[in-house]
């Protein structure tokens, strides 16, 4: 491979980028150096198409201990404790090898949080597949879920929240976005800046093998029909056993002292970790390849430098502490080898057997050139904002259809495959509430709430509004369990950014998230961009996914989504009128995805959230559930099914019966509460200027809904709860 010529295109770079390398180095790069540039300047590592846009996202918060730019964001939660969290995609590997792609995605995000010095305490996964009656999509779904389970269960980190959406827009390009949340003390925040010339560079964990070479570059290319066969060598294989040992050993090593900086090895392996750590610290690094523990004989320098073998970390360690650190890793059955040292001159040099192979300024590698791609509104966008007249259908049949669509249906079949209780923090388990709730015995009675939200269908019809709605929805879910938002991490899944329409959509979505976060004062502490999610059918649905972390003052005062008592009053509190444009009903029942999604009035939204949050915190409510896919009718039905208690409700009248039942809008909640708490809730809502509509009562084993505003005109829907439950449990037959 070390022949003199290597075309830039063969490592995924353009001629212009090659010229930029020449300009930065003042010479031609060697073939090995060019390969290193190829992975570091890939979209996956270099963020070259997204960097400028991402600067729109606000990270300001009085709680901020670490914003974007490190391996994960860190926010103060009081009492000297902090949370670290980050979300990342593993879409391309999961398309090619669903099980291993998803498993290593989990392993990678865990190590990001571990790199901050935090003990990982929860995982959140947001999944999107093609239609589940399509054999390939179904196989990918089963493999991806099994992969997440295999890794998360073994390492003992509970998977407590997530999403599952099936849509033709993800056929062939499933999205696997995984977030990890960790807990740490303020004083234990670790960073990844190399410092102190003479300090040792230690490579710890698994040995380096020939797996995943060029994975980052592969993740930055479109998949074609042959990818599943040809790209398998680019997918890494995870070892959750080693991953678990790495967590324990690294936390022990950080506690023992002498560790100056930490970084996990993910995409682009040693090349990325060494150049980024050195660049962040304004230092240089000397690396000796023969000291890297390898899995097999005869590995070439480029293979060692680019390997994406999992379960490895790079540490900067004070010279006197290397033996102690090595001993800690040995105790956990892992290797820790000194592979080089930090040097003052800002140059990353790589030697093999005393022969210098590489000499590059770290920043030249780590700071990929910034692109400002052309942006153009999709030509067909505005035409799709015209909502056709929907024919009237049987409301009961429509309700059953909506309940059985994967995005709405009960996810029991998925989350039962995940250990969601290990670490004994899970107070509200997946499926029981609008967000998961974890207790914090460290800060008792406080707790954390976690939720993931995104809506590719809305974002496809209006990326700005769709992204704002995702942020609003996540905050709404947190409010239902009584939590206030701390911060969020996002995963931005789009097609090829070199297509102007894709890039315009991406920029609109980022702007939407940024505006919503500014208005709601929620910091974006980190995230991930995944471009090139394209199948032969075209780009994936534009899908910004939000993982939001919230704080509860008292976990014993949280709230589930299911009705709890018969004879409770059911109310709708709302700051918006329901609308069929871009609704799940139009999509799932009529096969129509059109209309401009309603925007969210963030001021009104905040006021409604304040009411819900306070009502939960005061213990007034029996249940709280936001109206999302399928509108008020689906929200009431879900509360009934989850609580196994029926209900009689009369929904406020709308222009059409189906709009009253299934129309969607942000800022709407179905609450149930004992009658003697109603006046309290009404008084609180009045203070915030939020209308409360009394819909009816819980009780019985049927769900009866009048959609006319007038019960005298008869029930629009009258179904046994058992029948509705069967529709709601549809995923049990599929996954």
């Amino acid at each position: 491979m070390t022949t003199a010529t290597l075309a830039p295109e063969s490592v995924g770079l353009t001629r212009d980028e090659y010229e930029e390398i020449r300009r930065r180095l003042g010479r031609d790069p060697s073939p090995l150096e060019l390969r290193m540039f190829g992975v570091m300047w890939s979209e996956h590592c270099g963020y070259k198409h997204s960097k400028v846009t991402l600067e729109l996202l606000p990270a300001e918060s009085p709680r901020l201990l670490q914003g974007p730019g490190e391996n994960a964001g860190v926010l103060d939660i009081g009492g000297g404790w902090a949370v670290a969290f980050k979300m990342e995609s593993h879409n391309h590997p999961s398309a090619v090898d669903p099980f291993n792609g998803a498993a290593t995605g989990v392993g990678g995000i865990i190590r990001d949080v571990l790199s901050m010095g935090a003990r990982p305490i929860a995982l959140v996964d947001s999944l999107r597949f093609g239609p589940l009656d399509d054999p390939t999509s179904r196989r990918q779904a089963a493999g991806i879920i099994a992969g997440i389970a295999a890794y998360g269960n073994c390492v003992g980190i509970p998977t407590v929240a997530g999403e599952l959406v099936a849509h033709p827009g993800y056929r062939g390009t499933p999205l696997v976005n995984v977030a990890c949340v960790g807990l740490l003390r303020h004083g234990d925040v670790a960073r990844s800046r190399a410092a102190g010339p003479g300090n040792a560079v230690m490579l710890v964990g698994a040995r380096t093998g020939r797996d995943g070479i060029g994975g980052a570059a592969f993740a930055s290319a479109e998949l074609d029909t042959g990818s599943e066969r040809e790209d398998r060598a680019s997918v890494q294989i995870g070892d959750p056993f080693a991953g678990k040992l790495l967590i324990e050993a690294t936390l022990d090593a950080l506690r023992a002292g002498g560790v100056i900086a930490v970084q996990d090895l993910g995409a682009a392996g040693l090349t990325c970790a060494t150049s980024e750590m050195a660049a962040r610290g304004g230092m240089g690094m000397r690396l000796e390849l023969e000291r890297v523990p390898v899995r097999e004989e005869g590995m070439r320098p480029d293979e060692i430098l680019l390997s994406e073998s999992q379960e490895r970390m790079l540490l900067i360690v004070a010279p006197g502490a290397t033996e102690r650190v090595a001993e800690i890793y040995r105790r956990w059955g892992l290797r820790a080898a000194v592979v080089g040292d930090v040097v003052a001159a800002p140059s990353l040099t790589v030697h093999s057997g005393g022969t210098p192979l590489v000499s590059l300024p770290p920043y030249a590698l780590a700071e990929a050139p910034v692109h400002r791609p052309a942006a153009r509104e999709p030509a067909t966008l505005r035409a799709r904002w015209t909502m056709p007249d929907l024919p009237m259908v049987d409301p009961a049949a429509a309700l059953r259809t909506l309940l059985s669509t994967p995005a709405v249906a009960h996810k029991r079949a998925v989350y039962e495959q995940y250990d969601h209780m290990v670490q004994i923090r899970t107070v509200v388990v997946p499926g029981a509430g609008d967000a998961a709730v974890l207790r914090l015995p460290e800060l008792s009675p406080r707790g954390l709430a976690l939720v993931a939200d995104g809506d590719g269908r809305l974002a496809d019809l209006d990326p700005y509004r769709g992204a704002r709605r995702a942020v609003a929805e996540a905050a709404a879910n947190l409010a239902c369990v009584g939590a206030a938002p701390l911060g969020l991490t996002d995963c931005l899944n789009f097609g090829n950014p070199e297509h102007p329409e894709v890039f315009w959509t991406f920029r609109q979505a980022v702007t939407g998230i940024a505006d919503a976060c500014r208005a709601m004062r929620i910091p974006v502490v980190g995230g991930n961009v995944s471009f090139y999610n394209e199948s032969p059918d075209g780009p994936v649905l534009p899908t910004p996914v939000i993982t939001m972390v919230g704080l509860l003052e008292d976990v014993s005062r949280t709230c589930g989504a299911g009705f709890r008592e018969a004879e409770d009053i059911i109310v709708l509190i709302s700051a918006a009128d329901p609308d069929l444009a871009a609704s799940s009903y139009a999509s799932a029942v009529h096969g129509i995805e059109a209309g401009r999604p309603a925007d969210v009035d963030l001021d009104a939204h905040q006021r409604v959230l304040a009411v819900v949050r306070e009502a939960v915190a005061r213990g007034w409510l029996s249940s709280a559930h936001d109206c999302s896919d399928g509108g008020a009718a689906v929200a009431v039905t879900e509360s009934a099914i989850l609580g196994t208690i029926g209900a009689d409700v009369t929904l406020p009248a709308a222009a059409r019966t189906d709009a009253a039942l299934f129309g969607e809008a942000p800022s709407r909640f179905i609450l149930s509460l004992p009658e003697d708490r109603l006046s309290d809730l009404q008084a609180l809502a009045a203070v915030h200027g939020v209308p409360v509509a009394i819909l009816g009562r819980t009780g019985g084993d049927r769900l009866r809904i009048a959609a006319t505003g007038q019960r005298e005109q008869g029930w629009t829907i009258d179904l046994a709860l058992d029948e509705l439950s069967r529709a709601y449990e549809s995923l049990a037959d599929i996954l």
Partner: protein, 264 residues
Amino acid sequence: MRFGVVIFPASNCDRDCVHVLRAVLGQEVEEVWYEERSLDGLDAVVLPGGFAYGDYLRAGAVAARAPVMTAVRAFAQVGGAVLGICNGFQILLEAGLLPGAMLRNAVLRFRCTTVHVRVESTQTPFTRTLREGHVLQMPIAHGEGNYFAPGSLLSTIEEAGQVVFRYCDADGRVTSDANPNGSVRNVAGVCNPAGNVVGLMPHPERASEEVLGSRDGRLLFESVITTVIARREAPKQSRLYEIATGLRPSQQGRSPRPFGARDD
């Protein structure tokens, strides 16, 4: 009293067990590293859940051969109380300290959910203070919890009272619908002939605090605490002694039968 919680590489419920025993129940807890060769000074030992050695080869197979298991075996032989939870149960089966074997769940998938189990035997230190038929609600989380014993062995252990827990519904009925993993005759936990070594698939440590939805699991830990303390301290005539040892005052002519002692 003093508990030992064994930590194998990739045990992952060890910290949960330590939390419940130490912070919830106020007991002394020693974290026992898998290379340890002595369990001196301990009153009871817990093998926690998780994926010891990644469950590579077979669940529990490698851990059963770890150095600490020699000490666990010796501890069990002199009547020490040993509880294996989930992966800990699998390890005790692989070590031959409990009868039977684990198959993959009948659904062929990992399952994490809440189940009910019925107490079938109170002749163990972990169930001594409970009553037969007591229904406990606890979580499970396993992929290989489908307990199996061939017909003859199953008859033997059933007749000997070695089935300690069976999966049941909330009303205590042992039905196939209440069986989460296909275990033969709904067996959720068994003990050795002497009763001092108990293994079960459900996680009592996940059901030991009200905020987590159930306190039923705590009863197992409270039972062993009561039993061990009573055996050590209570006067032989007391009711507590009787509860702790299963011996009536009329049987006191003989020295109390320690857990693990073999009948002649």
